[in-house]
Amino acid sequence: MRPRLALACHLFCLGSIRCVSLLVPGYQREEWWREWRSELWHVRQACAPERGISWAAEHEVARFCLGAFQDALCLRRHAAPRRIPHATTMGSAMQCILLLAGLAAISYGIALLLPGVSAILHSPHYRDAQNLMLIRDAKYSGDSIPTISTEQYQLWNLRRQEIFDGFSYYRVAFESVLNAKNVKAERRIAVASPNLFALLGLPIRFASGEAQGEMPQLILSNEMWKNEFGGDPHISGRLVRVGQRDAIVGGVAPAESWRLPGKVDAWLLEPDAAGIADGMGFVVAHLKASPLHAQWGRSWHMSAPKPDGSLDDFFCVSLTERTRGCGDVFLFAVLLACLALPATTSLPLGEYRLSSRKLSWPKRLRRWCFLGSKIALLLPIVYFVSLDLAHLRATLDPISSEYIQLVSSFSICLFGLRWALRDQRQRCPVCLGKLTHPARVGQPSRTFLAWNGTELICVSGHGLLHVPEMPTSWFSTQRWLYLDSSWEVLFAEPSLASASYF
């Protein structure tokens, strides 16, 4: 009879193999357990003595049992779903598009969180800005100084006009305003003709739409509405003391909407233009629609009568430049980046044999769609990121912000376009997976006898990409080599591709 110790060793070995069998996939487990149990019995029969216990024999049996662990792991490895190669997951076209879409969403989200950018994104457009002319006395070079007298404006407004079909006037002055807490504060108020906002085509928020009679209407800037009146949405219709008279709040101008000369906290629209006190101000006029006027361009001189009857020279400049949005800066930066792109990378995507049976028409179309999608997603990223950078600090003046936007748009766009082209060149034209396993081929010293450069492979087995180290007249750009069906066996069975079984 076998001693108890030998029996305990046997049971321990059986228990160990049974535990190890849990590593084996379920559908193979019972047969695997049956085979190892049978083999263990035979090993013990061969090694262990008939009576008693031999530690050398037990050592042999234990070594045999250890092999069960390796066997179970081997079966488990083979039964596990084949890992998708790196190139088709990390470098897949879909993942690339999703990443870009995510970046675009994040940059847009940040843009909405930054008050300055959010205001720009939602700022209204001036109606017919190219026909809105800012008129100034030609004797002055800049248009930031008020040069038109109230009298002059009233003269033009009353006369029958051939060139213009509407005038508006405003004059900026410091006036005391009583805020919501009845605290008087000096604010920059633009005393304006009643048609100022209508002429510019700017909407007014919270406007009641009711006629206010003879009382002047006060339009608050977004900043003043928030700072002085706590952002009250029912502000419209409230009486406010402005200087020596009462005015009724007519609404709030959208943030970042005022692009005309003069920094203004509120606009006091006089019901009658004649009520505007004498002084120097600015005149905005709307040009009549005419093919002749369109030929004059964005700025021109005109002679017009003065209140004293003499003629004077005036300079008219279109508001197009002033009302130019961030989109124009962005488009200019994109144009510059497109022009600079050939200096940073080559534009061709390489040579691809069109006759290949593998590259069908839909696959070729998909490849171009992928490149188009990358660029289409890149542009909003560039736009929003540049806006975010330009308006990161609220204290920056508009000119600095514009420069920051221009520089950042150009840099990001150039880098992004370069990346899009390089990424496209490093992808398989069939599956759009990223090419991997770069290998150096050839020697630089033999450039004139053979090519030297880098060879990349598509892990799905669609082909090889040859990138020359030094472009020559016979090998100027990268070439794609499609692999025929005889290569498929290498990619179908990854385990056989290895040199040996072990």
């Binding site: 035979h42 045999f64 390796q70 079966l75 056989l496 079984y501």
Partner: protein
């Protein structure tokens, strides 16, 4: 499975052992001197690649000899072709593991 698959020396030894009549795992271990952790996984791969196939011994035979039934392995046609090419690659293979009939002689 491609019959021309190139085997490592270890896999060729196991294939040669099966062909020589050492038809179950423990006997292959004894013949080749390889540990169980090498022999059994190798046989799984050879079976997966259809170079060998396995068959359980009949229960009645095992019962008659009062032992558990064994799992026997046998070369397939592809296995024989692969072994032939492996013998050309490893000329000493047949001498290392002679067939059981040769051993008896």
């Amino acid at each position: 499975m491609a019959a021309e698959a190139k085997l490592s020396h270890t896999a060729a030894m196991i294939l040669q052992a099966v062909n020589a009549g050492w038809v179950y795992g423990f006997s292959i271990m004894e013949m080749t001197g390889l540990p169980s952790g090498t022999v059994y996984p190798a046989m799984r791969r050879l079976e997966r690649d259809e170079l060998i196939r396995s068959q359980w011994e009949q229960q009645s035979i095992a019962d008659a000899e009062q032992r558990p039934p064994r799992k026997y392995y046998k070369l397939t046609r592809a296995g024989k072709l692969t072994l032939e090419s492996s013998r050309r690659r490893y000329p000493l293979l047949a001498k290392l593991i002679p067939s059981q009939e040769e051993e008896r002689v």
